[in-house]
């Protein structure tokens, strides 16, 4: 018996040592100059979230290249402050300004404001290469000294990305624009790099008649792609010149991804809701399908963006994706007239089925259930997964006085053998009316 117990202890010890060795290897890889192994090691370590990584990083992080140092900092931030405080204290004396900044910032965020002077100094001492890394570690720190140190980056900016990043960081701590930042941004207008000038103009852009806004409008008309980089420099509470708004609306048509449409919509809505609706409606006939869909979805989020007659018309004379958006939007407006269209789409083959399952799940009525049950047996795992998630929510809402444990049905959308589970679910659905 004693022998068995010591065998078990030994095995456990071996396993622990092996895991430790595994962690140590990954931490070593984190210091690689090669992006592939470094990135793989970071992902593995981030997934493990093992606190045992802390002392290993403490020993090695200072010898890593800059990208590895940043990964190491992110991994340390995953751990509780009590487990990492000593290492941060040590790193505030590191040679690399980035490490000093990251450590001081994390300690300051956790209440130790005495580290703010170290952070300020590290920011100003950071090399050109370190600056963008430093900007990634000063989030949520609002301190005039830190703001002042960050502002020095505007004196000789390497690229527009850095300028945008600095201005975004300064915004929370400078609710009212500081004259110092304004002076620094005005100086950027003389920069030969058009991208930097565009960022400066976006920050300065003001109301009707504003010269900076008009200048930026010209830049955007000539090079609409610039918009994506400077998008977050427009402030919702600052009214923009109509000319600039028009240029932003025009540039929106050059978007390539749905999320870009939604980002611009946020800005335009804050400026002028009617203008946003008009601009979005003009995109409904755009040649890019992503843009059309993004516009439709954005319009659907705006009260009055899509009127009921338009939506009802779209149920019959548009592509499946648009029909689904129309049906879902009508449902959100307490109009279930799109349900038959969605049910019909559930029976047709195509790329729209996952979205169909999602839209069906939004309806709280018996008619929406059978097609969802059918989609649980679709050949596409993504469709099955979406149908499964939506069916659960739908049933819990349709039957609020019943309690479900859907795992007991035996259905698994990822499994190849789903028939028994499906039969259980269909059996319950068919029997429900006789049950109570």
């Amino acid at each position: 018996m004693t022998f068995l117990r010591s065998q078990t202890t030994l095995l456990a010890l071996c396993a622990t040592l092996a895991a430790q060795q595994d962690l140590a290897t990954l931490v070593e890889q984190l210091g690689s100059t090669d992006h592939g192994p470094r990135s793989q090691a970071y992902n593995d370590l981030a997934r493990k979230r093992d606190v045992a990584v802390v002392p290993l990083l403490g020993k090695r992080i200072t010898s890593f290249p800059l990208a590895g140092q940043q990964s190491g900092v992110y991994l340390l931030q995953q751990q509780p402050i009590d487990a990492t405080r000593a290492i941060y204290e040590k790193l505030t004396n590191a040679d690399a300004a980035f490490l000093r900044a990251a450590a001081a910032a994390q300690l300051a965020r956790n209440g130790d404001r005495s580290k703010l002077p170290i952070l300020q100094k590290a920011i100003t001492k950071a090399t050109a290469e370190e600056r963008s890394y430093v900007l990634n570690c000063v989030w949520s720190i609002e301190d005039p000294g830190v703001a002042s140190a960050l502002r020095t980056y505007l004196d000789a900016p390497g690229n527009a990305g850095l300028v945008v990043s600095v201005l975004q960081h300064l915004r929370p701590s400078e609710k009212t624009r500081s004259p110092e930042t304004e002076r620094a941004v005005l100086a950027l207008l003389a920069n030969p790099d058009l991208a930097i000038r565009a960022a400066a103009l976006a920050w300065l852009a003001g109301g009707p008649g504003d010269a900076h806004a008009k200048e930026l409008a010209k830049v955007l008309r000539a090079t609409p792609d610039r918009l994506w980089q400077i998008l977050f420099l427009f402030e919702a509470d600052r009214k923009l010149d109509p000319d600039l708004l028009d240029a932003i609306g025009t540039a929106m048509a050059k978007a390539t991804a749905k999320h870009q449409i939604s980002q611009i919509t946020t800005i335009l809505r804050a400026q002028n809701g009617d203008f946003a609706v008009t601009a979005l409606r003009s995109l409904l006939t755009n040649t890019n399908e992503e843009v059309r869909k993004g516009a439709l979805e954005a319009l659907a989020t705006i009260p009055g963006g899509l009127d009921q007659p338009t939506l009802v018309r779209m149920l019959t004379d548009s592509a499946p994706e648009q029909q689904l958006v129309a049906a879902a939007t009508l449902r959100r407006m307490d109009d279930a007239s799109g349900l038959p269209t969605v049910i019909a789409l559930a029976g047709k083959k195509g790329n729209h089925l996952a979205e169909t399952a999602r839209v069906l799940g939004g309806f709280r009525c018996e008619d929406a259930v059978p097609p969802l049950l059918t989609l649980l047996d679709d050949g596409d795992a993504n469709v099955r997964q979406t149908a499964w998630q939506n069916l659960q929510t739908q049933w819990r809402d349709l039957f609020p006085y019943r309690r479900f444990d859907f795992a007991t049905s035996g259905y698994d959308p990822q499994s190849a053998s789903r028939s028994a589970g499906l039969a259980a679910l269909r059996g319950w659905w068919d029997a429900r009316k006789t049950k109570r």
């Binding site: 609710k175 009055g304 407006m333 307490d334 939004g362 709280r364 039957f399 006085y401 007991t408 049950k435």
Partner: protein, 563 residues
């Protein structure tokens, strides 16, 4: 023909003249800080005029967060020309003697002192009315307009002799401009909590009206709609000061308070937070029509006492309270001569949830449901007898709201009775057959029930969608739901785009469950005074309204007194 027209005009004019002023006549559109400061500091003329403006600031944390000091500095800078002959003074609520900067033409002193005062926000209750009376004495004698700008986002509900304050300020020729947050519709929060400590000599009130004119505490509603429905107007005391002195009320709210959320203290069965209600945008005209009286409390009693809708509603409210359908009695009684304040008493407690005696509860609930029907029918008959246009529009809305709530309460009582009869006992029945997968028993193990809990499914999507939901009572409940749907739809078609439509949607169909010993928790109170700020987008305190801003679009966000 011409004579008839003139007579008609005179008659109409006399009728209009008889209508007492409402809060709509003094409440300005918009919800920003910039506009009121620009209007008040800029004054009535573009040329500099001799004026004295004393700003009395209640330094609450919300005011600091809103960036008041910066907004004020900007407004002073932008109106430099108009302020050339204006003496600015600063008072801080809660400071001894109130005044921290006597009226001066050195405006920078005021700005510096304002920033420093807001560095130390106050969290406790403040008696702004007493401080206003003190501040009134600080105006220098001499010619020129006298304006007192009261900025208080949180303490309008700490009332202290409003009428005396108004009279004093009016006699001193001081025009009171108020910048404050929006009240909740007929707010009952403090009425439901009479034991709250408060500054000496004050009364905690808070509704937009001089008296609570909407029944609150309906049976099986988790939280009164009166506590979370934005009124569209300020608290009565502040509105009254502005109305009595020829001033105005400006409301302030954060931009993050506009997103629609179906339910505050309830669950929505019909969406996942993406609802776009067709009547989400309010009609300014309707909101103003339903505005509360801005008259003195005494005049308000007189006006309400002679209003047929109010009288019908209060009688029903009292009867409903005695029947246990609503947990409050009206704080006002109507007599043949008019109306008078009454001691607020709780309604009868039907004792339906403290034990697990399901059969006894069922019988009581069925009796109460019968009473709800009777009172609803009687109220309907009274309302049908009142000639159209004869009465105060707000009180008509309140009476019709009461009618719908009686039917909603009847539905909830019938649901409860059916649950007590069919569902709850079955959960504890021995040898009950196991449900088919994926359904599982509602109750685990051998636990014995101790009582009954309930929550609400919100009515934001209306009543009709509930036809598809499996509720206790099944088909037998359907006619009652249909009747509720008809009443709800009729009410919302008229009042949907107003504070009263919003209030109705804040009620819900109840869901019941058994409770077990040791499972109890207090609901949080979200209110401007509390510190439970949310970091993300928060509950709408009221929807945006159309036509309120100078841009002709939505007037933007507004607050309610509570979340």
């Amino acid at each position: 023909m011409r004579v008839a027209l003139v007579l008609g005009f005179l008659l109409a004019s006399s009728l209009v003249a008889q209508q007492p002023p409402t809060a709509a006549s003094v409440t300005e559109p918009g919800r920003t800080l910039a506009r009121p400061l620009d209007i008040v500091l800029g004054g009535p003329s573009t040329t500099p005029q001799e004026r004295t403006v004393i700003v009395v600031v209640d330094p609450a944390a919300s005011l600091v967060k809103a960036g008041f000091a910066t907004a004020f500095a900007t407004a002073v800078q932008q109106n430099q020309k108009q302020l050339a002959n204006t003496k600015l003074g600063l008072g801080v609520v809660g400071q001894k003697g109130v005044l921290v900067v006597p009226p001066t033409t050195d405006h920078s002193t005021v700005l510096t002192q304002l920033r420093s005062s807001l560095d130390r926000p106050a969290a406790e209750f403040q008696n702004v009315y007493a401080d206003l009376r003190t501040a009134a004495a600080a105006f220098p004698s001499g010619s020129g307009d006298r304006v007192l700008l009261l900025v208080t986002l949180e303490n309008g509900d700490v009332e202290d002799d409003v009428e005396q304050t108004a009279t004093l300020l009016r006699k001193a020729r001081i025009q009171v401009e108020v910048l404050t947050s929006e009240a909740t519709l007929a707010d009952n929060y403090w009425a439901a909590r009479p034991d709250q400590d408060k500054p000496r000599g004050t009364t905690l009130t808070g509704p937009d009206t001089a008296v609570i004119d909407l029944p609150w505490g309906w049976l099986f509603q988790v939280r009164a709609a009166n506590e979370c429905t934005p009124a569209g107007f300020a608290m009565w005391g502040l509105t009254r000061l502005a109305a009595a002195t020829g001033g105005r009320v400006f409301l302030h709210a954060e931009a993050s308070q506009t997103a629609h959320q179906c339910a505050v203290f309830a669950r929505c069965l019909f969406c996942t937070g993406d609802h776009m209600p067709p009547d989400d945008a309010w009609s300014n005209g309707l909101v103003n029509q339903l505005g509360p009286l801005a008259t003195s409390r005494g005049d308000t009693y007189a006006a309400l006492g002679s209003d047929p809708y109010f009288r019908a509603m209060v009688d029903t409210w009292k009867a409903a309270a005695e029947a246990g359908l609503v947990q409050s009695q009206p704080g006002i009684r109507v007599t043949t001569a008019g109306a008078a304040p009454d001691r607020a008493r709780p309604g009868r407690d039907l004792d339906l949830t403290d034990t697990a005696s399901f059969d006894r509860h069922r019988k009581r609930a069925e009796e109460a449901a019968q009473k709800a029907q009777q009172l609803g029918d009687e109220l309907q008959q009274q309302l049908d007898r009142i000639d159209a246009g004869k009465g105060i529009p707000r009180e008509e809305a309140a009476a019709r709201y009461t009618r719908v709530l009686l039917q909603l309460t009847r539905v909830n009582l019938l649901t409860f009775a059916a649950w007590c009869r069919d569902i709850a006992p079955a959960q504890f029945a021995k040898n009950a057959p196991a449900p088919l997968a994926p359904e599982v028993p509602a109750v685990d193990g051998e636990q014995r029930p101790a009582g009954i809990g309930f929550s609400n499914f919100c009515l934001c999507h209306g009543v009709r969608p509930f036809f598809a939901i499996e509720l206790p009572g099944g088909e037998a409940l359907r006619p009652e739901l249909e009747k509720l749907d008809q009443l709800y739809t009729t009410f919302q078609s008229r009042y949907g785009k107003s504070q009263f439509g919003y209030a109705l949607r804040r009620n819900g169909i109840a869901q019941f469950w058994v409770t077990f010993p040791g499972i109890a928790a207090k609901l949080p109170r979200n209110r401007p005074k509390s510190e439970n700020d949310q970091t993300g987008p928060i509950t709408p305190r009221r929807p945006p309204r159309e036509g309120g801003s100078s841009a002709g679009g939505s007037s933007g966000p507004t607050t309610g007194g509570g979340k």
